[in-house]
């Protein structure tokens, strides 16, 4: 049998396989060096970066829930300039494309971060317009079409590489927003970001999280994510990146069948740091066993 093709195309980017890491669960990539060779990954999406460093929310920042977890980290990060100086050079030894998740309090901050990143080795950016855990920015843009248009168009003028927009299930109509992003020039959409949730300590009747609300992730949200990925991929022509509770290669396959061109692995990295490697291998074996020559032949093949 000929060599199996696992390459997928996301905007201007060719990924060697569809397995990406999800922002916020993979640090700046380097923390996973001791677990596996980062060249195995399709792409690395690093922790959300802003123009200047962000302290993040007070603890308690996470709460475990059945088959899931709530987080309210509050986008703690070292800022885009420190990332470029301290972290990016250390990722250079890997061939894997590095995608930076970008967050800003105002539209001009997103554009400025993208502008700064254009002259670096970063392969693309993912716009976080859907973080549920910060007061300014994030979620306020998730349902604001005018703001999203201004953001994407402003960024496309400055940033010449792949632009992905990460979408939220928390506000508005995610299909309409995905279509809107496509029309504004986004190269791809990734979904879903975490779902707003909360947990209560019954002893003192207080929220478990200092931020009261957090974003729910993990296996608990997989069916919801899958439905959104299916609906959105029917609506748009640009690639859809599926995110939400993917724990193994079978979960990843479900998302590909539903219409995702690639997937992001998030919470599973906490449970087992080798999850991404296991999914890459699992997908390869699946293709081999089923005599499928090209992984793209699976994408969007749901029978109805």
């Amino acid at each position: 049998m000929k060599i199996i093709n696992t390459k997928v195309k996301i905007g201007k980017l060719i990924l060697k396989n569809p397995v990406m890491t999800a922002s916020g669960t993979f640090g700046y990539g380097l923390e996973f060096e001791k677990f596996f060779n980062l060249n195995i990954l399709g792409a690395i999406v690093v922790k959300g970066l802003s123009l200047t460093p962000v302290k993040g929310n007070p603890p308690q920042r996470i709460a475990e829930t059945p088959a899931g977890m709530l987080n309210a980290i509050g986008l703690q990060n070292i800022g885009v300039k420190n990332f470029i100086e301290e972290k990016l050079p250390l990722l250079k030894k890997y061939k894997t494309p590095v995608i930076v998740n970008v967050y800003g309090r105002e539209i001009k901050e997103y554009i400025e971060v993208a502008d700064i990143l254009n002259d670096t080795d970063v392969a693309g950016i993912e716009l976080n317009i859907s973080c549920p855990n910060v007061k300014k920015g994030g979620l306020q843009f998730a349902s604001d079409k005018k703001a999203v248009e201004k953001m994407i168009k402003g960024i496309k003028k400055k940033f010449k590489k792949t632009v992905i927009v990460k979408l939220s299930p928390n506000t508005g109509n995610i299909q309409d927003m995905a279509l809107h992003c496509e029309r504004c020039g986004a190269d791809a959409v990734s979904l879903i970001n975490t779902i707003i949730g909360m947990a209560i300590d019954i002893k003192n009747r207080r929220p478990v999280l200092a931020n009261t609300f957090g974003g729910l992730s993990g296996p608990a949200i997989k069916p919801i994510a899958l439905a959104f990925v299916y609906k959105v991929s029917k609506k748009v022509k640009i690639p859809v990146i599926g995110i939400g509770g993917i724990m193994n290669y079978k979960d990843a396959l479900e998302f590909l069948i539903a219409g995702a061109t690639a997937v992001q692995i998030g919470t599973a990295n906490f449970v087992d740091p080798l999850t991404c490697v296991k999914i890459v291998n699992g997908l390869n074996n699946y293709l081999k066993e089923n005599k499928i020559k090209d992984i793209n032949k699976i994408v969007g093949t749901l029978k109805e």
């Binding site: 669960t25 996973f32 302290k55 603890p59 920042r61 996470i62 980290i73 906490f270 449970v271 080798l274």
Partner: protein
């Protein structure tokens, strides 16, 4: 890398406290204050691993002593001899990182354990004992059932309980503060209230191992942070990476 081990024993040693010994590869090495992050379930409930202070290690065995509090520790308590356990670590820094930084020749070393904080303190006590470094041990718990004096028989420890059911009656810090002075170096592990009151004591140096809710324990999720001074400001710093042991003068409670 992820480590794999086999349960050698997992026995109940008091009301809700268990002593787990895992058979691991001979090369396993750990320092006092470090922890391992154990996968307690094969399925997704509970989803996350659970971090445990290391109690001891010896020629291919690592021990943790833990209190059953929630679903994760309950699952762990159900593990039987021969069961396979997967864990990450040892992770974090150690008390001894701070010991070597400090000139101890003319100083008194005090170890202070509160509640289950005794686990890493006992490991450190043993380490100091083997290095022939003198120290004094203080160990407090809420009541007799929470107190595991059998582990401290040879250490001539000052013992107290909040209700006086064993040892002296009162908080361990009440007894500690009578003995500290500018030449004392304190190493502590225990509840936040205890660490907070130690922070205010007159001593040469005060160090403490912190507990925190961890998501990944490998430094990426930024869940387990505590407030650390940064000139007139502060930063949230990871307990799993930069800790678990911090200089109490740097900590903001």
């Amino acid at each position: 890398m992820e480590n794999k081990g086999v349960v050698y024993f997992n026995k109940k040693i008091s009301d809700a406290i268990y002593h787990l010994r895992i058979k691991v590869q001979k090369s396993f090495f750990a320092l006092p204050g470090q922890f391992i992050n154990i996968r307690v379930s094969d399925d997704f409930i509970p989803l996350l691993r659970r971090p445990f202070s290391i109690f001891n290690y010896k020629k291919g065995f690592v021990d943790v002593v833990y209190k059953v509090i929630g679903d994760g520790t309950k699952k762990l308590s159900e593990k039987k001899k021969g069961d396979t356990l997967y864990f990450l670590g040892p992770a974090g820094n150690s008390y001894i990182d701070f010991l070597s930084e400090t000139n101890i020749s003319d100083k008194k070393i005090f170890l202070v354990a509160g509640g289950t904080g005794f686990v890493s303190i006992r490991f450190f006590a043993k380490w100091l004992f083997l290095k022939k470094i003198n120290f004094k041990l203080f160990y407090g718990a809420t009541n007799k059932n929470e107190l595991l004096t059998s582990f401290f028989k040879n250490y001539n420890a000052k013992i107290s309980t909040d209700d006086g059911s064993a040892g002296s009656k009162g908080l361990i810090t009440d007894f500690l503060k009578k003995e500290t002075d500018k030449d004392t170096i304190i190493f502590a592990c225990g509840p936040q209230g205890m660490l907070k009151s130690i922070q205010n004591l007159n001593a040469f140096k005060k160090f403490a191992s912190f507990e925190a809710y961890m998501g990944c324990a490998i430094g990426v999720c930024l869940s387990c942070v505590i407030k650390i001074k940064n000139n007139d400001d502060f930063n949230y710093v990871r307990v799993c990476k930069e800790g678990t042991v911090f200089d109490l003068d740097d900590v903001i409670f």
